[in-house]
């Protein structure tokens, strides 16, 4: 509504000032939240840790975002910090693949990425919600440039093998018709007094009015073919200029087909808090974040360290590891405390000296299987032929979605799209295939949405997270039962050891979970270290 507030109402700032003056800052915070400010994850700014006892050593295991952030904040607080990393790179699951990169997975299959210069795929995290303020804060602090990530694209395709004769439909057509028909039904129910029993006169009038504007109903409260509906779903002949410029409205889908299609699931998908616009991605690939974090703590990281045991007593922590860069020499590292960010799928198999409760917690969290496909095509046919600029098309086939690059729009030459992003049954199935089989399957299924696929295909890479040696899975997957029994224990400080990572958060599978978990872990560890000093 253009004039939702009467002009005499105080401005938001005037109102907040008044509330702040009268009731103090707690009320101000509450009011800000109510008025729509200060929304986000549970990030309240970076911790200001100071005054570590001189010479206190902290060993951080893992150089993903949680590990590097822990090291960054602890060093700032005055600790002597060292990071051990299994891989020959830092960044953890924050990763991008480019031409020339090699992917070797468990089972031995090796892929060489053949993308053209400048192209990349993010096989792990690929988008950042605007309310992941912890991650966004550090991106800003570490100079990581961000750009918008297109999540919702009204011109993308929705496809179901069992709906609309297996033909993909545009998101805007489906969404318009779903909204329109639903609004019409509700308006009709009101007009036929079917809701009198539940809804007051006044409210019925409001709902009726809302349905008319929300659903694009005509003056008779019907959703019909015409300019009003076509201004939502698109015209048969678009609006033009000059003598023949008059538009021709498009036919609606049959209501029954819309309701049966199940495609409305994809409308709901974008409404989730996690997926709401504005979303972001780093300019040049998700790994720019890992690189930004690495710049802060590079001097603390030792790569190629395969941890085999974590032991502790009243005096300190001893970690045993194999130095895979130096003839598999077995070494130990000692510290006063340890922040362990090793994924639980791996940690649960190591020799870790903790309480039975912690041991049970570490073993209680399964890791999801996920597969992503990066496909390079000779040209941006989705832009040139279909006017799709970023966003996601969805399908009920295994690949589940095709996401178009949010960057480089309108550029010529080869481009990479996300040709499949799977969890659950499809991910298990794809992960069990050879990379070549995955590619062929992804191309076959993509053809149902983009007939240009085979002709324009150049090369591709698949990334099966359950076959990644250093995570053995994609990310943590809590059951209600495990959360209830084990979560608090998992997050507690076990003598001199604390865990951090997305698995120790309620923002599982997101980078923000790693950030918030790390900040909480180091804050409590610092307190503990000061207390014990």
């Amino acid at each position: 509504m253009p004039h939702a507030h009467p002009p005499t109402a105080p401005t938001r700032r005037q109102l907040l000032t008044r509330i702040g003056t009268l009731a103090g800052s707690a009320a101000l915070y509450q009011a800000m939240t109510t008025l729509g400010h200060a929304m986000g994850t549970d990030f309240r700014g970076p911790p200001k840790l100071t005054g570590a006892k001189r010479g206190t050593r902290v060993l951080v295991l893992g150089s993903g975002l949680a590990g590097m952030l822990s090291a960054y904040e602890l060093r700032k607080a005055g600790y002597d910090v060292q990071i051990l990393e299994f891989q020959s790179r830092s960044g953890g699951r924050n990763i991008s693949l480019r031409g020339g990169d090699t992917v070797t997975e468990l089972g031995g299959a090796t892929q060489k990425v053949g993308f053209a210069p400048g192209n990349y795929i993010n096989p792990g995290p690929w988008r950042i919600p605007y309310h992941h303020q912890g991650l966004l804060h550090y991106c800003r602090e570490f100079g990581v440039q961000l750009e918008p990530f297109v999540e919702l694209n009204h011109n993308s395709w929705l496809h179901s093998t069992g709906a609309f004769g297996g033909k993909a439909v545009r998101y805007r057509e489906l969404a318009s018709d779903f909204n329109g028909f639903t609004a019409e039904l509700l308006a009709k129910a009101i007009d036929q007094h079917k809701l009198d029993e539940f809804v007051s006169d006044d409210e019925r009038a409001h709902i009726r009015q809302a349905m008319k504007s929300w659903g694009a109903l005509n003056k008779d409260m019907a959703y019909t073919k015409g300019n009003t509906s076509s201004l939502r779903r698109g015209f048969e002949k678009p609006q033009g200029g000059g003598i023949d410029g008059a538009p021709v409205p498009s036919d609606l889908f049959a209501r029954k087909d819309v309701m049966e299609s199940g495609l409305w699931n994809w409308i709901a998908f974008h409404e989730r808090l996690d997926m709401q616009t504005t979303m972001f991605q780093p300019v040049g690939g998700m790994d720019q974040i890992g690189k930004g974090f690495t710049r802060q703590v590079k001097d603390l990281i030792t790569l190629n360290c395969k941890v085999s045991s974590i032991h502790q007593d009243d005096h300190g922590v001893t970690v045993t590891y194999t130095d895979t860069a130096h003839g598999d020499a077995v070494r130990t590292a000692q510290a006063d405390y340890c922040v362990c960010t090793i994924p639980l799928s791996v940690l649960s198999q190591l020799d870790v000296q903790v309480t039975d409760g912690m041991k049970a917690a570490i073993a209680a969290v399964p890791y999801a299987s996920s597969v992503k496909m990066g496909l390079e095509f000779k040209r941006r046919f989705w832009e040139e032929d279909d006017q799709i600029y970023g966003g996601i098309s969805f399908t009920d086939q295994q690949i589940s979605q095709i996401s178009y690059p949010s960057h480089g729009i309108f550029s010529k030459g080869p481009a990479v799209l996300l040709g499949g992003y799977m969890f659950g049954p499809a991910a298990y199935d794809f992960a069990g295939m050879t990379p070549e089989q995955r590619l062929q399957r992804a191309l076959d299924q993509g053809m149902a949405i983009h007939p240009q696929y085979r002709k324009e295909f150049s090369n591709g890479v698949s990334f099966a997270w359950s076959r990644v040696p250093w995570t053995l899975g994609c990310c943590s997957m809590w059951t209600e039962e495990a959360r209830k029994t084990h979560y608090k224990t998992l997050c507690s400080i076990d003598n001199r050891l604390v865990l951090a990572g997305e698995h120790a958060s309620y923002v599982g599978c997101w980078q923000e979970g790693a950030i918030l978990s790390a900040l909480d872990a180091v804050t409590r560890l610092h307190k503990r270290a000061l207390g014990a000093a």
């Binding site: 198999q349 190591l350 992003y421 599978c509």
Partner: protein, 144 residues
């Protein structure tokens, strides 16, 4: 992810009929996840090929990662009792997901019987769907 497994579990255990498609949104960036349709898996080998071999490998020999592994099923003495692999399939183990929501009793029995008679294993006794039903746990994925 979470929703995905929960829903799948509901559908299977209640015999609920899906609408034409069942694109089910899942949690978090796992999130983007949607359940593609479940394969038809008429026998134990199909379950193994479409689900298990993603980690335990086509030859059942497992794999070795960062100081951690996917255990081999080939020559694994823990398969001596059929109850044990059935329990692990249903409940998961460490980083291994639970499959009680994804596989029905017959499928669990089939795949257990399959791995116990392949990859060099020759156990004569078979697991029945009723045996699986008895030990099926109640696990629910978190609400998002």
């Amino acid at each position: 992810m979470r929703k995905l497994l929960l829903m799948t579990s509901l559908f299977i255990t209640t015999g609920f009929v899906l609408p034409v498609v069942a694109p089910i949104a899942a949690h978090a960036d796992s999130a983007s996840a949607v359940a593609g349709k479940m394969q038809t898996m008429p026998d134990g080998e199909a379950v193994y090929r479409h689900v298990c071999q993603s980690c335990h490998m086509p030859d059942g020999k497992g794999a070795l990662g960062a100081g951690a592994k996917f255990p081999a099923l080939a020559g694994n003495p823990k398969l001596q009792s059929a109850q044990y692999p059935a329990y692990v399939v249903l409940n998961g183990f460490g980083g291994m997901p639970w499959f009680s929501g994804l596989l029905n009793d017959q499928q669990v029995a089939n795949v257990v019987n399959y791995i116990r008679t392949h990859f060099g294993n020759h156990y004569p006794d078979t697991l029945k769907p009723e045996d699986v039903s008895e030990i099926r746990p109640h696990l629910s994925v978190e609400e998002e």
